[in-house]
Symmetry: C2
Subunit: 152 residues, 2 copies
DNA sequence: TTATAAATAATAATCATTATCGATTGACAC
DNA sequence: GTGTCAATCGATAATGATTATTATTTATAA
């Protein structure tokens, strides 16, 4: 964790940004909640535990900065808030998501899966892919197990 | 076009909803701008030409209703507004999008492409897929042609 | 026609996000 | 150390998309 923080610090410095205490506290929260998909408000509340004097605007500014540097990805599941997700270090592509329409859980798929599809899109549509967003909506394995869903 | 409108009318009636003049005007705008990805505000302004007395809230309500009935899909490209896209009649799956980071153009991919991927996800993650969202961000064929992009 | 529920227009309210602005901080020159 | 400058910050106002409210209108059917 300290290693990743150190690398993020270097990444910021390479772009002439500083890792201020507020930014560090924000990054730490993201590192500690890597599995979650926190909204800016969520992050704000968690950061306040570490740095009670931090302002909401600073959290927004920091998340925006981290997104710009591709350290986090800003995603939207259609519920009216943006969520922030740490990009896997060294991952060539942004991971995918499984959103359960029963319980609301969001699971991640780290596997690429889109290799062939991207090849087709680049060739047939002459489109140079820089990033992607893939989200499946459906019933997760937990809800799926709880009750038989034979309809449709 | 009238045929599709008629079918949408039937679809509404089957759920005990009426195709009021305001709703009809809204659907007509969507049919006439099938290629576009209009925001609620966009739709509102266009509908006002047909039905000047319509209220913004009615457009929102109508779009929400149409989304609920799966006649349109609500999508979000991360620019702060929801956009509404008519679902292709008879299409098993929602189509995909290519968003150009140069010019902002949004193109559609009607081909499925995800068949194999969905099979893997359903099997390996035990996730019952009901819907999906796939968007590629990159350089479209128009911008791609204008200047050589050899970086990266 | 009259009762009733659905739908509407106008507009107020909400909520996430962004902009503003004065204060603070840290790096560096002197 | 002190001054200067730019980056950053906290507080909060402003914005803008969306939703809720409410009184009114419309459609439907007895």
């Amino acid at each position: 964790m300290e290693k990743r923080l150190e690398r993020i610090k270097k990444h910021l410095h390479s772009q002439s940004y500083k890792l201020t205490p507020q930014r560090e506290a924000t990054v730490r929260v993201l590192l500690e909640h890597e599995e979650d998909h926190l909204s800016a408000e969520d992050v704000y509340l968690l950061v306040k535990d570490k740095a009670p004097e931090i302002g909401l605007a600073t959290v927004y500014r920091t998340l925006e900065l981290l997104a710009e540097l591709k350290i986090v990805d800003k995603i939207n599941f259609g519920d009216g808030v943006s969520r922030f997700d740490l990009r896997q270090e060294g991952a060539a592509h942004f991971h995918h998501h499984l959103v359960c329409i029963e319980c609301g859980a969001v699971d991640e798929i780290q596997e690429d899966l889109l290799g062939d599809v991207e090849e087709i899109v680049e060739r047939d549509w002459n489109f140079k892919i820089k990033d992607h967003r893939l989200t499946f909506h459906g019933i997760c394995h937990r809800c799926h197990g709880n009750k038989e869903t034979n309809n449709e």
